[in-house]
Symmetry: C2
Subunit: 338 residues, 2 copies
């Protein structure tokens, strides 16, 4: 056998790929379908809480049969990173082939995490929002927000996009850049109520340090689709029980992984299997209907799973190979069995 | 902040480090002590069974406070790799700093796994063998065998070393090379009985595909220290119950991870917490006595844990930095918080 190489893609390499939004959403949708059809292996993500919630690692791992690739992502959640001018969620994705178990790609996972989260948000809304939604209310103007908004708008072409965030500088910067990117007005609001009340689609991409109600139950109108996926509970805790349908990404992982938006409700025994309508993959795969009326209020909680990281890591790898981007590293120059 | 780099060490780089056996054992002993003193974070290892037992990934992850490093190892167990002239256990170790969560080292983990396993074997025997053991009986002549035997001999300077393995070519090749390395005779035996019967230290490093008794209970003499750590049960199943002390590396992981030498006995409910004397880390840290008489038969089962991989990965990283070995990769050339 010839030597084994690994393709390395740093942050700037991933930037240079300039991945197409539609390609990203297509890859993510395939991954969700594979999950729904049980064509994946995925233990629950793990955590290394060095100093929770300030310093935490998450480790996600899985195998996706339709593309025949295994992968692991290690992603930090380090709240002090802004002091180093770094995102809080630095990540590394490694991909492995299923013939020998050899690694074949090592990829900066920070941007890919934002992209894959945005794509799960958008593909989820595609399957769960009411027909022809006109108003998007978005909380958060950093990280995943950069992908949530353009991907959702690509699907729905909103009449109104409202954005808020904790810091005025962030939301103003985001609105300005996104308005240019989409060629439409982005309305900046001071309060979360002004952003989300009576919106057709509500995305809560907040990153709280402690629980706070950013979305009240009564602001979620009939027919609305709402998603909340921050690590800390940020919506009124009645919402999972008052909505018509509560969809998750992976219920096994939701129960086992001890952090996340609704983890406290699960640990308290309040949120149980009988409250869950289904998993998004089952809906994407057509094994369970999504929305069944225009009046339903549907909540989707995606904790984020390895399948999406593997799908998008693999897409990045393929595009990089096609375009000759990245650094080829000798892993085993001269294979030798001892 | 300046750009972030990652140091990459492929197989040939790790070879070039030519790590010192004593340095390796010292690093491993520190890791075991940290584990005993609960100065680590370590969820159980996970598995991705693509096609068990032919094709399996193991994912190990942890954090070691005394060196302040987090790490993840992905290691395959691919039985067909010999067809590609590759070891069955290709591995990749990634290390992360605890300030920002950024990765700082990516290291081929195959050789390091053999080294760390050999060092746990040797350090375990140092704490659990009888005084002045003269005879080593070793099953297995590939992979970890290359480190078990010289490390044990460095500690004990045996009068007799007996080695056997399934294939005559492997054991002859191993004995020849090891005899040169240690400057002493290595006795090759055809049967496992001839190798291990009445030895002072018995190491069963076999890699079976299905259960087979390679070590019978009655061959383990009073005062003997025995270790067996293959993925498949290879000793007589009475041994865990007939020995005076049964020591493990991490009892939580032994119970949660579904594969390994005695996993079947645990899953059947036969092997329970009351059968376990303690963890090797507790003994190394002096929190629990090791051997208390020259007549005790002591069994040590090390499934292998992330702490050892992190300790040795970090040692390799430090030596590589000192000596300018490896490839420096740009992970974030221009840090940017979005």
């Amino acid at each position: 056998m010839a030597g084994i190489e690994i393709l390395f893609l740093g942050k700037e390499d991933v930037d240079a790929l300039d991945l197409d939004l539609q390609d990203i959403m297509d890859a993510i949708e395939l991954g969700l379908k594979a999950h729904g059809e049980k064509e994946v292996i995925m233990p629950s993500k793990d955590h290394l809480p060095l100093d929770y919630p300030e310093k935490l690692f998450n480790i996600l791992k899985g195998y996706v049969a339709p593309i025949d690739v295994a992968g692991v992502k290690v992603i930090g959640d380090f709240h002090g990173n802004y002091k180093h001018n770094l995102p809080s969620d630095l990540a590394l994705i490694t991909l492995y082939n299923s013939e020998t178990g050899a690694p074949f790609a090592i990829i900066d996972g920070t941007l890919i995490t934002w992209m894959r989260t945005g794509a799960v948000t958008a593909v989820g809304a595609k399957h769960l929002a009411s027909d022809n939604p006109k108003v998007l209310g978005h909380i958060g103007a950093r990280g995943t927000a950069w992908y949530n908004v353009p991907m959702l708008d690509k699907i729905f072409d909103f009449e109104e996009i409202r954005v808020t965030s904790r810091r005025p500088e962030s939301r103003e910067r985001f609105a300005k850049a996104m308005s240019q990117q989409l060629g439409k007005k982005i309305t900046v609001t001071e309060t979360t109520e002004a952003a989300v009340r009576d919106a057709d689609i509500i995305i809560d991409a907040s990153r709280l340090v402690e629980h706070q109600v950013l979305v009240e139950d009564k602001w979620v109108k009939p027919g609305a689709h709402i998603q909340a996926y921050g690590a800390i509970l940020s919506v009124e805790p009645t919402i999972p029980f008052s909505v018509d349908k509560f969809v998750v990404d992976d219920w096994n992982q939701c129960q086992k992984s001890q952090y996340g938006q609704f983890a406290g409700l699960i640990q308290a025994g309040d949120l149980r299997t009988e409250h869950i309508y289904g998993e998004i993959g089952e809906i994407v795969a057509g094994l369970k209907p999504g929305r069944s009326s225009q009046e339903e209020r549907i909540l989707f909680w995606h904790k984020g799973f390895a399948i999406s990281d593997i799908m998008l890591g693999h897409l990045a790898y393929q595009k990089a190979v096609e375009r000759g981007i990245g650094t080829r590293l000798p892993y085993y120059q001269q294979p030798q069995d001892m």
